[in-house]
Symmetry: C2
Subunit: 114 residues, 2 copies
DNA sequence: ATTAAATACCTAAGAATTTTATGTATTTAC
DNA sequence: GTAAATACATAAAATTCTTAGGTATTTAAT
């Protein structure tokens, strides 16, 4: 399990990526999926996830569809067009950011420039 | 220039890495170094940096040494023993975290597991 | 010589995001 | 029938960062 501060700022990117792969997902499903994908190393808490989902919806990146499962109502999220392009941008940006960070963090080379 | 939310949570790791490479540095120097290393893509603001440096010092990871440069006083920071091991941990953890994120974010493969 | 830009430190209000804690309710497994 | 898992949600507090100042010295430009 990673220290929580690492995960900060990446949650949005993860959510957008998940939705761009899966088409639609509900909140709880996202938490399980990420836990499973990362062998429990990244754990998304619901207290962080739900407010974010609501914000992304308010911002026009996501839309929701309520589906009744027995007596319960599941809320599926999917990307709007705007959400789709936002997802691509975020993912590209993050991959690029990782290259930069790797350059800074890796070995002696990272800083042997002067 | 990356969106600021990406940089969140990575500042501490960057500072510790810089100090483990350079031995000692002063705050302003760190901002310039990172800007230079990343071609302006990562910009550390002083409003974020100084409070962090003070916190790391209070936590026993850094120690300071004041050096007079003309009429000005420069404050050099260096790692304590605790800071050194903390640096190694943080860096290793982050490199590992990047692998995990890459796995999630990269292409179709990232999620084609079920 | 004066002025602007760069160097070098700092803090504090507000914004944004996350943690922690809690709540409700249904469904599944033991 | 009870505990665990599923599934949603919010709200107070903590953390971290941005924005926006502030002070002062030194260097570069006009």
């Amino acid at each position: 399990m990673y220290s929580n501060e690492l995960i900060k700022g990446t949650l949005k990117t993860i959510v957008l990526k998940l939705l761009s792969e899966e088409g639609k997902m509900y909140g709880y499903e996202m938490t399980q999926k990420v836990k499973e994908l990362t062998n429990g190393k990244i754990v998304i808490t619901e207290g962080a996830l739900y407010p974010l989902l609501h914000k992304l919806e308010a911002d026009g990146l996501l839309l929701t569809e309520k589906v009744a499962i027995g007596k319960r109502v599941r809320k599926y999220y999917s990307l709007t067009d705007q959400g789709s392009s936002s997802a691509s941008e975020k993912i590209t940006e993050f991959l690029d950011y990782m290259k930069t960070m790797k350059f800074i963090l890796q070995g002696e080379n990272g800083l042997a420039l002067e």
